[in-house]
Symmetry: C2
């Protein structure tokens, strides 16, 4: 009972701040800590301090008064409104507004988190975890709501399809950024249903490398990408976050190199000249080349070794050596990719972006390039180098046999049936590779994501237990962190200490995983039409596993807002485009199991290949245009809602302003409203007194009745009656 | 003296309405006329009526009071602000606003024009010239400002380059839509300077079909397109029209098929289901095919005849027959294109767009397709059909010789040296064709634009003089229109009657002309590198000729707003893209004067051609991306201005809203602001009275000082002093 109580109640704690003091000297640590508490108090946050694990303190933070919270909500909503992310100005009677438009848990946590971390100049406490002055502040995180988490996982694991309400709930709890990930994965999952079904049919009846499958799959991918853009926009409207990405928060790390004085406000603004940034961005080119070379040559080398060992080599230890390339790849790829990622981040820092949005966009582009190389290059090497040019290249791999020769036990093994010169390509290799990447690797990835952190955590717990046992045995002076805990808080604090040790959830990694997976579908699925089926099953599990991961293995994520999946959308479009090239090339090259369209490799013509690529790519562009045009016509509840709101706001604004025009005449110089009769009278007077041609001209006809009469006279004279008019016409 | 006076003074007339009554019966005409005057008066417009030519009346209109005008200006500016086209709310003290942000002549005329033509429900007089009830109203136009016009033409004709101020002046007088045309043409003109210079060098040193020229020219076109997008945006900011295209005026012609009741406002809104529109839009496909077939077969036929006559045929009348295809083309193309344009307009009407913007966009796309076929198909036929396949196709043209045979005087002529079977292609033909399109046709077009309307007008005047002379001679009853004019108004009215006869200026035609011209540059200029030079000269004259045209041959155009050259921008991008394909294909096919890369036609390889296209197209896409990224970094005065304005507005709004938060606490339930001490006291009290775990938890440390002290104690205990800490670490 007591345990479930500790799990079910967060005791009103909004955030927990972990302060680790082992690194600094005592006096400084104490001073810094006092600063921390004071800063928190200065923005209206109450705090309670408890002891933490390993030289750390847990600072529990909550908003000291409802009223203060309301003020912050109002500030935040006004900022949204000023930047156009809200259609209507929030009423200053916050209590009333909150009844109409209640605050979600995500909004609350986001606002408090910003209150803690925003710089003091923007009204926050300016506490930046792990950075600058606040290096001692290890993390700032909210506590899990275990009751909700339990329900969430229970609900999702018993439900086939996630509904819009499920996503709304995620959004209310975890914020829009994470909700977008789930929404995207769910949309992708539903979209996979059709290609999975069609894939089974294609696999059963059309065989591999079917033109029909390739076309339908590509078309479907185009529709998906365009549909997602539409859907994403709709979600942004539904969640009221349209345009939040335009509310640009300056990065604290931005280093201005030039000071410009604003001519109007007189304010000094630090800027960074775009030319300079452009020069720095040019470094991306050598970076991309270096990454492609480093990763590419590793992959190509392993590929070469693998082909040699499995297809050419027949010497001793073959059964062991066969695993050599896999071992090299699995150890070296993460290593090189890790180095490259670090390097990409450095480069990105060096490019010195002003806002978070731009920084993230640039970083995502770099990481996508790295992922593109590690994920797709092996398949592309097999498809576009090994199969067409295998018979030319493989004999050169003979060089390996020279190095292996010394190990050969006798000459016979070296002159085994598969001598390089008699080498024939193995078309099944490509399919095996795809099955590896789309089934084995996915399952392994999923397991790594869920099981490894679990084992890691269990290991940590074990180590800690051993340490404390050892400390007890040796009679050491360090008491357990919970030694001083009040008995009624014991379990709660133990839970919080546990959560403090957890990792921070990064939604980008999960999103990247999905996009990379989508790449296999759009680039290579024609090789093995069961790819979408495998992904369909994988993603059903993935969605649930990610929920579990967030609930169990990660700290509660800080809810951030987003109005899109951001730069990954570009990656999605790029992959779809690139797919139109690879799919057509694969179909042309392999439509007869690697033997070219006519059954012999010789009949593969360069112009045929290029023509199919040219045709396919332009068909893609046309389809994309048509799909986006057609989809843009589709209305959606979010759009209707936004339109209605906009209309009402405009009506209101327009009416308010027009109400003011009625007061206008009182502002006139003459101080009176001129009636039409006054005007006429005035004009008549004017004509008597002055003689300017203009006044004379306008004084001729007084009032509209005179003008109308003059016009009637002219008409009457010109068209005396119907008969005369007829005669007149004849004369002309 | 008297004449110049009439020219220099518009007597305060804002607009002239021409009412033509010859078509209706007398009573109805009189009634309708009275309605017209009454309607004008009802929206505060004063009118004067004078006799016009040929059964028409001239209704002179002016705003009856300054005050009224101010109200209208305010309404219009509020509407802009509500739709986001103005950054700040206009002050209701209009007189003061107008001092800060004075009204241009264009704004004044636009507002008055809208006052006359807007439907009554929107506060206008609802007079729609030539439509519905107002068929008798022939035109509504403003009078030329001859003083300004004279100055304008004088200034431009003595000045090499138009400055930003010149464009601003056009904008102030003629409105943004026309100013955009001049700005675009001017930007295009300046942009041509470099390719013109480089073209001369290429012509002199690199020869025709130079790869270097093609690449540089394409690159330059990409930069120009991207630069123009940037520039266009900047102009929109400079002229304060950013977003006006989003202020969507409903088309009066829109026919809703479904009535939807708005769930919130209860208003009934007529809509047209997008699915139905999509179905109707699909008719564009047969339309495009029909257009391509009709125009294409005409062009192909004439092309065939021409090739046959000039290259194969050697019979009688050759010197005359050579002109036959030109005659057929010049008579039939405008005919078919006219029919097709009418058809396109009908189709566009049928597609039933709700707003003007969408209607125009769709129509432009259709007209662009027609122009694309008529302008570029002849050249493409020569380049991609005649030259590569000429030797295969031309012999079939022998069929013509059979039809011509009867006319041959003797057998000898038919067995002339150039017999079809010995036919060789004539590579110079392509160049001749390009020179025709880019020099001759441009000069002819310019002449047609300026001289033909002049002759037409002179002809009209002659006819009228003859008519009146005849009428006098026969003693007819129709007196001259000016017979009743007051002597001091005589010259002024004669001038107005002249202007009433003029054509209405349509800026789209001129814009289309420029875009089509740009097409020749980007698609084919590698054939003859002097193309940009020819265009440079032509456009210098064109800019001035258009100014003259507007001043002398057209009614003063009604100033409309725009924030872009609209759909023509898409056409520009498309042509640049397509250019990357044609240029590379031309270079590959003709780099050795039509004989292929190795000097013999046989060496032209399909894969080579496709590879160069593939390479070039992707290079284009990459360049476009790089150029747009780089250009988007460039700052501009307009952007700076907009940023500053936005910043100030936001500051103001934010401050205003925040000022309200200070009043917040008074809205609190407790009716008092809680100080920190109060809070602490309250918490202490709370802990005494209640016993919930949450309250107990938060009551432990009162105030930030206690928390800080507790933390210091923890730190002190964990790190007793530096030495002990060192020992402790060792033990661990």
């Amino acid at each position: 009972m007591a345990k479930s109580h500790a799990l079910n109640n967060n005791l009103g704690v909004d955030f927990v701040t972990v302060y680790r003091f082992a690194t600094g000297d005592k006096a400084k640590a104490e001073q810094r800590f006092e600063d921390l508490i004071q800063r928190l108090a200065s923005v209206g946050l109450a705090s309670e301090v408890r002891n933490g694990e390993n030289h750390s303190l847990l600072v529990f933070v909550r908003v000291s008064s409802e009223q203060h919270m309301f003020g912050e909500v109002y500030r935040s909503r006004v900022k949204d409104w000023v930047h156009g992310a809200r259609s209507a100005e929030p009423s200053c009677e916050v209590r009333q507004t909150l009844e109409q438009d209640p605050m979600s848990e995500a909004e609350r946590f986001r606002i408090i988190y910003q209150l803690i971390t925003n710089p003091q100049s923007e009204g926050g406490a300016g506490i930046t975890p792990k950075k600058g002055d606040w290096e001692n502040v290890e993390s700032v995180f909210a506590l899990h709501d275990h009751v909700y988490n339990k329900e969430w996982i229970k609900k999702w694991s018993t439900q086939w399809i996630l509904t819009a309400q499920d996503l709304d709930e995620i959004r209310d709890r975890m914020g829009e950024k994470i909700a977008y990930y789930f929404a995207f994965t769910q949309a992708y999952f539903s979209f996979l249903l059709f290609p999975a079904g069609f894939g089974i049919l294609a696999w059963a009846f059309l065989g591999y490398y079917s033109t029909i499958y390739a076309m339908i799959c590509s078309l479907w991918c185009v529709i998906f990408t365009e549909y997602w853009k539409h859907q994403e926009f709709d979600l942004a409207l539904r969640w009221g976050v349209r345009g939040v990405s335009a509310i640009e928060d300056k990065r604290h790390e931005f280093k201005p190199t030039k000071e410009v004085t604003d001519s109007q406000t007189g304010e000094k603004i630090g800027t960074f000249p775009p030319q300079e940034r452009l020069q720095r961005q040019l470094l991306q080119i050598p970076f991309a080349i270096a990454a492609a070379l480093a990763l590419g040559s590793l992959i190509a080398m392993c590929f070469g070794i693998e082909v040699f060992i499995s297809e050419v080599y027949d010497g001793p230890l073959k059964s062991v050596l066969v695993f050599l390339p896999t071992v090299i790849l699995t150890t070296c790829t993460p290593l090189i990719s890790g180095i490259m990622t670090t390097f990409a981040t450095r480069l990105n820092d060096f490019e010195n972006y002003e806002t978070h949005t731009r920084y993230e966009r640039a970083l995502t582009a770099k990481i996508f390039v790295l992922n593109f190389i590690t994920s797709y290059l092996p398949v592309m090497l097999t498809a576009f180098v090994y199969v067409p040019f295998g018979s030319i290249i493989v004999p050169y791999l003979d060089i390996f046999s020279l190095t292996v020769k010394p190990f050969a036990e006798n000459e016979k093994q070296m002159t085994a049936p598969k001598h390089p010169s008699q080498f024939t390509i193995n078309p099944a290799r490509l399919r095996k590779q795809i099955i590896y990447f789309t089934v084995t690797a996915q399952v392994v990835g999923l397991a790594m994501e869920v099981i490894v952190p679990y084992l890691k955590r269990q290991g940590f717990i074990k180590i800690k237990q051993m340490q404390s046992a050892r400390a007890k045995a040796s009679g050491g002076i360090t008491p357990s962190a919970g030694a001083d805990d009040a008995p009624e808080e014991k379990e709660f604090l133990a839970r919080v200490r546990g959560e403090a040790e957890l990792d921070v959830y990064d939604v980008t990694t999960d999103l990247r995983e999905m996009v990379v997976q989508y790449g296999y579908l759009t680039l290579f699925s024609v090789i093995w039409p069961l790819v979408p089926l495998s992904f369909l099953i994988n993603n059903w599990v993935e969605l649930r596993a990610d929920a579990v991961k967030i609930c169990v293995e990660m700290q509660r994520p800080t809810p951030w807002r987003a109005d899109s999946i951001g730069p990954w959308l570009d990656a999605l479009s790029f992959l779809t485009w690139f797919g139109s090239i690879t799919m057509s090339a694969l179909v042309y090259l392999f439509s007869n199991d690697g033997l070219g369209p006519d059954g012999s490799p010789a009949s593969i013509k360069g112009w045929g290949l290029l023509l199919s690529i040219f045709f396919s790519e332009h068909l893609y562009l046309l389809t994309r245009w048509a799909a986006s045009t057609a989809i843009s016509e589709i209305d959606s509840p979010g759009r209707q809602k936004a339109r209605r709101e906009r209309y009402l706001t405009r009506q209101k604004l327009f009416q308010e302003s027009l109400d003011q025009t009625h007061q206008l005449p009182t502002l006139s110089e003459k101080g009176e409203q001129l009636s039409r009769t006054d005007l006429e009278e005035e004009a008549r007077q004017g004509s008597l007194n002055t003689r300017s041609p203009e006044e004379k001209f306008w004084a001729r006809q007084q009032g509209w009745r005179t003008s109308a009469q003059v016009g009637r006279d002219f008409i009457a004279r010109a068209v005396p009656d119907q008969k005369e008019a007829g005669r007149e016409k004849k004369e002309l």
